[in-house]
Amino acid sequence: MHRVIRILLLAALLVAGVTGCDRADQATAPSAATATNTGGSKQGDLGPPQGEPIKAVLTSPPMVPPPTGRKAPAKVIVELEVIEKEMAISEGVRYTFWTFGGTVPGSFIRVRQGDTVEFHLKNSPDSKMPHNIDLHGVTGPGGGAASSFTAPGHASRFTFKALNAGLYVYHCATAPVGMHVANGMYGLILVEPPQGLPKVDREYYVMQGDFYTVGKYREKGLQGFNMESAIDEKPTYVLFNGSEGALTGDKALQAKTGESVRLYVGNGGPNLVSSFHVIGEIFDKVWYEGGTHFQENVQTTLIPAGGAAMMEFHMEVPGSYVLVDHSIFRAFNKGAIAILKAEGPEVKEIYSGKEVDETYIGDRAQSNLAAVATAAKSASAGALSVDEQVKAGQALFAGTCSTCHQATGQGLPGVFPPLAKSDYIAKQPSEIVHVVLHGLTGPVAVNGKTYDSVMPPMNQLTDDEIANIATYVLNSWGNPGGRVQKDEVAKHRKEVHPATAPKH
């Protein structure tokens, strides 16, 4: 026991020693260390601001300001105005949004690590509420909230040094915080790393938020905020960029094939976590959580409320790519949909488009489809044998029919009638084709028992397929044998009368 402890102690000392060496290395050779560790805020101060103060370029979503392109820390002046305004949340539905800069999400702010940011928060004279701002990129209590509490018609100022690189959410933190956020008071601030971000062809700004209205989803007119459903976390709308259709149709994001695209995606909340996904694309890189490191080859990335992520992908194939919260009811029933439209020539070797449109007969048939192929080949050569038909029919039966009638043809007692040794089939063999094509509804007596259920028409099957299935059934499980040709199926197909239980 003692020995173990001694060994552990030794190990701990060793680790401590190694760590010490690492630190020394980092100080002398930062480039080698940055791959794993940037040093955080402790090494984020890149010295006093240099040159004349710069006025930050702010952009409305979905646009992103250009890279700062600076090599030294600067003093950057950000002026952001809070505006309370009525806007469309959906077609014919109005909502009073509280905004940073007149848009939801608020203006995109872009600075560089080490910059000294002089922040001016103005609250429009037309505002009814006091507001403030908490930037997650600020090092200091409240993220600026207490220093920026601003009455309508007033402006306040505070200054911070951006010590940590990354993509950060900002939001209003005035009581009740949840209501201010739910009304659209959030946005993103990007703090570029000193070396900047890798160059891409397009950059876009998208932010998810959940909204709580008194009226139901798409109920027309001016809708008020519903505190009850906000507390219950049951949103009426889940949206990208503050309204249904903000990024679809004419307002869809644009790109060309051959271009690389970077999305800056935030989640304002107030409540929901986003499972962000782009249908038809795989993120080549995701700077998960908006941090320093990236993951590669990602399908769906989680963006927490009050969090953000950057993702990059290369456009190969033209078409419409749908941005969704893959908590998928939010996408199709609450509005969380945006479109990225890629233009360019088709690239058939990467994505063919629709090559075949045929019935999928189920995975149980997969291994036996060879028999179907053989039968099809013989049929086209005019030399299809009964045996080939039976084998192909067996494979098709396993895919389409066996779910109910069972692979043994026994059916399920009281529910699905048996096909094995069936007096129903023996009486009138061609009835098989009719039932497969048109279905069968209502009571039917088979082998002395009455079955009263519904078989849907299987007319998606081809004449060949039905002929093979019928031949297989006729030649199996003690049935009378025989053969069905595809011409016979074609004849039955033309009959329009609906399937009901035949009279006996």
Binding site: M129, A175, P176, V177
Partner: protein, 255 residues
């Protein structure tokens, strides 16, 4: 007889504006939504009289005519900041955006206080205001009613860019007082002691040094966020400030 003469002399002063009508608000025990450090449980509110509606532009113009030191071109900056009455067309002229019947807004606390002083009245204390505003058309305390809270929130949801309604047009509450909700914010006499921490997320860890005595408060009842928002607005202001949706009314004590 002398007393009557004296009253007659004062009469022109009282008629300074068309009397909005004070209504009697009978006193009672009342538990405020705010959590004062030195008040626990219900407080006694003495009977007072309150203006049935907020002071209007027309009334405030009459006041400014009589007391020109409160004209926007003469008032010292320490008593009224930049936005003071700047929606009026001139120092004494109203405009389409500031009609006589609408509640006066863009008034500083100092100006509102001076107006009430000139009336022989004063601004309501927060407790009095909250007490009167807790009532609806049939109850003296409707605060537990979710519908009452929703009506208050509906006003919050309307942008301030919409024109204000004429004063006195909303339904009267059980005391006969109108417009306490749904028209304008209102100054209170003791607004400056309402030091709600501007970052309310530090609940349970308030900056104790900032508060002393009655000033230290937070919201006891989380359901009453509608009240909290009114307090937040007042606490964001200084006495010289004004906004486009902030007005006032006066109260009188009952001898």
């Amino acid at each position: 007889m002398r007393a009557i003469l004296l009253l007659a002399c004062l009469a022109p002063l009282a008629a300074l504006a068309a009397d909005p009508g004070y209504v009697r608000v009978p006193g009672g025990d009342f538990t405020t939504t705010l959590q004062y450090e030195d008040i626990r449980g219900a407080s006694r509110v003495a009977t007072f009289e309150m203006m049935a509606r907020p002071v209007t532009n027309a009334e405030f113009r009459t006041f400014v005519q009589r007391y020109p030191q409160w004209r926007r071109d003469r008032v010292p900056g320490v008593f009224a900041g930049n936005g003071y009455l700047d929606h009026w067309q001139g120092s004494l002229q109203l405009s389409a955006g500031a009609q006589g019947s609408q509640p006066v807004t863009r008034v500083s606390w100092f100006a509102a206080k001076a107006y009430c002083d000139a009336q022989g009245a004063r601004l309501p204390r927060w407790l009095e205001w909250e007490y009167a505003a807790a009532a609806d058309g049939s109850r003296r305390d409707a605060r537990r009613d979710a519908a009452w809270r929703d009506r208050i929130l509906q006003w919050y949801a309307q942008p301030a860019s919409r024109p204000l309604p004429a004063a006195g047009t909303t339904a009267a509450n059980v005391y006969g007082v109108r417009d306490l909700h749904g028209v304008v914010w209102e100054w209170t006499d003791d607004f400056s002691s309402m030091l709600v921490t501007s970052d309310n997320r530090t609940q349970g860890d308030p900056d104790r040094n900032r508060f002393c005595g009655a000033g230290a408060l937070s919201v006891a009842d989380r359901e009453q966020y509608a009240v909290l928002m009114r307090v937040a607005l007042l606490s964001s202001l200084e006495g010289r400030d004004s906004t486009s949706t902030l007005g006032f009314r006066c109260v009188r004590e009952v001898q």
